[in-house]
């Protein structure tokens, strides 16, 4: 019977082509939107997490109050012990101490006088420990424009844009003028070994990257760090879990100690909270788009099934075919159409999503002056779920549509059939 039905569908294009096209479009849109929104939302959250916010961030209570001013005089101390405690208390999270600092990068001429100078955002990151994941986390190897990564103490990297502005390249000596944890002016020389392009305008304007131990020496922050970032081991931000961890940890701290460590989830840090909230609102919008698109598919399928095959169903019943048999055969047909439409739609959806994932949509022009770190290119991200997500609505919508349209079969009376057919 199945073979017979498929043959019928293939031979009667009016029963197969249009329904398959409608289902395909719906499925394609679903797959494409799903991958696109996942890519955009996820990228923005992860870029900010990796560079600034972490999935969780540990700071002193006093530092957290003025975190945007990077008050290193209020930084965490005894960091090695604190990291060890965090590992024991909160499993499933990787902890990375970081030092954020502001300063000036000064380039000397042959007489040691200032040749060029510019304000910099600095980051002290663990780049030299064997078990550190920071190079991978910050995507440094792929971000190198000139030179190489920091391999030894006393070396530094600059953002490419900044190095061009200052007129320096790998091998040149640079001086970092900063402020120690105690507020004194600090000056330290470094050898520039490479330049990077982070792909985030806020950082690329003027960034200096040091190994955390060099940053500690330069800023007089021995066994201290501005913050400790926590990253979930599965690599994805889970807001509910992050908020719960932060709440549990903070409740155990002395509320009167302004230097007690506290945890803030990514969503509890400045504009990122709004962004995470926005992400969930957008998810609702996406669901709405999905539902509307699928409703159209259902409506079309039902309408086509009902109107185009009204006469055919009448003849089949008049010829003595059981109503239930007619109904079941129509459902079987719709299953084939649903599967075919879903496969075609998924293939097209994945193809377009792959194009956006590979080439991205350049939004640099829209981000000028942005203080929040956004990726310069919006890219879709194809996940395993995109391979089957279209199958369910594509199949279910078509079958449901046919089932709705087919209900009419049982309402038709054999006595009136010939009159209807004559008409």
């Amino acid at each position: 019977m199945i073979k017979f039905l498929i043959k019928g569908l293939l031979r009667d294009k009016s029963r197969s082509r249009v329904p398959i096209i409608v289902v395909s479009i719906g499925v394609m849109l679903t797959v494409l939107m799903n991958a696109y929104i996942r890519g955009f939302m996820g990228d923005t959250i992860e870029v900010n997490a990796k560079f600034t916010n972490g999935h969780l961030k540990v700071m002193t209570r006093a530092y957290a109050e003025n975190a945007n001013q990077i008050p290193n005089d209020l930084a965490l101390v005894d960091v090695d012990q604190l990291v060890s405690d965090l590992r024991n208390q909160i499993p499933g999270v990787s902890w990375a101490p970081r030092i954020q600092f502001g300063g000036l990068v000064d380039i000397p001429d042959e007489n040691g006088e200032t040749k060029s100078q510019g304000p910099a955002i600095g980051m002290g990151v663990d780049l030299l420990s064997i078990d550190s994941k920071e190079i991978e986390r910050l995507n440094l190897e792929r971000s190198i424009v000139r030179g190489n990564l920091i391999k030894n103490r006393g070396e530094a990297m600059l953002s490419e844009e900044f190095s061009v502005k200052l007129g320096v390249g790998p091998g040149d000596e640079i001086t970092l003028i900063g402020s120690t944890m105690h507020g004194s002016m600090s000056m330290d020389n470094f050898i520039l070994v490479g330049t990077v392009n982070f792909g985030a305008e806020a950082i690329d304007k003027g960034a200096i990257l040091l190994d955390i131990e060099d940053a500690r020496r330069a800023l007089d922050m021995y066994d201290s760090s501005s913050e400790i970032l926590g990253f979930f081991n599965d690599g994805f931000y889970n807001n509910d879990l992050a908020v719960r961890i932060a709440k549990d940890f903070n409740e155990a701290q002395d509320p009167n100690d302004e230097f007690a460590p506290i945890i803030k989830s990514l969503s509890q840090q400045g504009a990122m909270g709004q962004y995470v909230a926005l992400t969930s609102v957008w998810s609702v919008y996406i669901s709405l788009v999905f539902i509307i698109a699928m409703s159209l598919v259902l409506w079309n399928a039902g309408l086509l099934g009902g109107l185009r095959r009204y006469g055919e169903v009448g003849i089949r019943i008049a010829m003595g075919e059981e109503k239930g048999h007619v109904y079941r055969s129509m459902i079987y047909e719709s299953i084939f159409i649903g599967i075919a439409g879903s496969i075609v739609g998924t293939a097209f959806g994945l193809f377009f999503a792959w194009l956006i994932q590979k080439y991205g949509i350049d939004i640099t022009g829209m981000m000028q002056g942005s203080s929040m770190m956004l990726p310069t290119h919006i890219r879709a991200r194809i996940a395993p779920s995109d391979f089957y997500i279209g199958l369910f609505p594509g199949l279910i919508s078509t079958v449901l549509g046919t089932m709705l349209a087919g209900i009419g079969i049982y309402k038709r009376q054999t006595a009136k059939l010939f009159k209807e057919l004559e008409a």
């Binding site: 006093a62 005089d73 209020l74 000036l104 000064d106 000397p108 040691g112 006088e113 200032t114 001086t175 003028i177 402020s179 120690t180 105690h182 507020g183 004194s184 002016m185 600090s186 000056m187 330290d188 020389n189 007089d220 302004e258 230097f259």
Partner: protein, 245 residues
């Protein structure tokens, strides 16, 4: 009778004028007492932060208000750091980098060694009378000492503080306290002088507490441990070359 009343009123006015000199005269007296051709002094600066306190010592050579050279002696991290001020220019030398950097622009607003003093505070070398309009607004007693209260309002634009309020010892001609205000009226800094000693015939406060009112902490305590006036200071000290020596 009428002539007699006029004479009495004139006398009373004259006597009253002698009892409270005008603000410019008071500032002149302070200058006369405190200024010298040059001075060499050693001092300590204790910075009381939110978390801890730390002390550094330094030796300073200065000629008037225009030239000064400071070398930090302790702690080890700051040892050998030198600062040179010539007129309106300021350089800092760091021995660890062997670099001399000119402090200018927004860097002038940074704190000196984490203290409550900014480089901008160090750079102000114009006479108060030249940049502020001064008036005496009363007399008060500070730590048992009678003091004139003088209010100074900027008459030029390029000043770090729009107005100041000074309490000046009526007898020793030294400032005992000073409040520095922004144009909005916000109190920005407070300076308190104490431990006044007579050194080489002049009264001099040897302890000054600077408090940045916008910062938390207990301020910066500056103590002069030894001071010599009108010494023979070699001219080469006040040159950029001396920073690297």
């Amino acid at each position: 009778m009428k002539t007699r009343i006029v004479i009495i009123l004139l006398l009373a006015n004259a006597l009253g004028g002698n009892a409270q000199p005008n603000a410019d005269e008071i500032l002149d007296r302070v200058d006369k007492n405190m200024s010298s051709e040059n001075r060499i002094f050693e001092s300590s600066m204790t910075i009381h932060g939110r978390r801890s306190s730390r002390t550094m010592t330094m030796r300073t050579y200065s000629v008037g208000d225009k030239q000064s050279f400071t070398e930090y002696l302790t702690p080890p991290r700051e040892q050998g750091t030198k600062m040179l001020k010539l007129e309106n220019q300021l350089w800092i030398y760091s021995p660890s980098t062997d670099r001399t950097i000119q402090i200018s622009g927004h860097m002038l607003r940074q704190s000196v060694m984490g203290s409550d003093l900014s480089y901008e505070d160090m750079m102000e070398d114009r006479k108060l009378k030249d940049i502020y309009s001064a008036k005496v607004i009363g007399e008060e007693t500070i730590d048992g000492r009678k003091a004139y209260v003088i209010e100074l309002t900027a008459k030029v634009e390029d000043v770090a503080y729009h107005s100041r309020k000074m309490w000046i010892d009526t007898e020793k001609n030294i400032p005992l306290k000073e409040d520095l205000f922004a144009k909005s009226g916000q109190l920005l800094k407070r300076t308190t002088m104490s431990e006044v000693e007579k050194i080489e015939g002049r009264w001099f406060p040897t302890k000054i507490v600077f408090k940045d009112m916008l910062k938390q902490g207990d301020g910066t305590e500056y103590k002069i441990t030894s001071i010599k006036f009108n010494q023979n200071i070699p001219e080469h000290i006040f040159s950029k070359a001396s920073l690297r020596k």
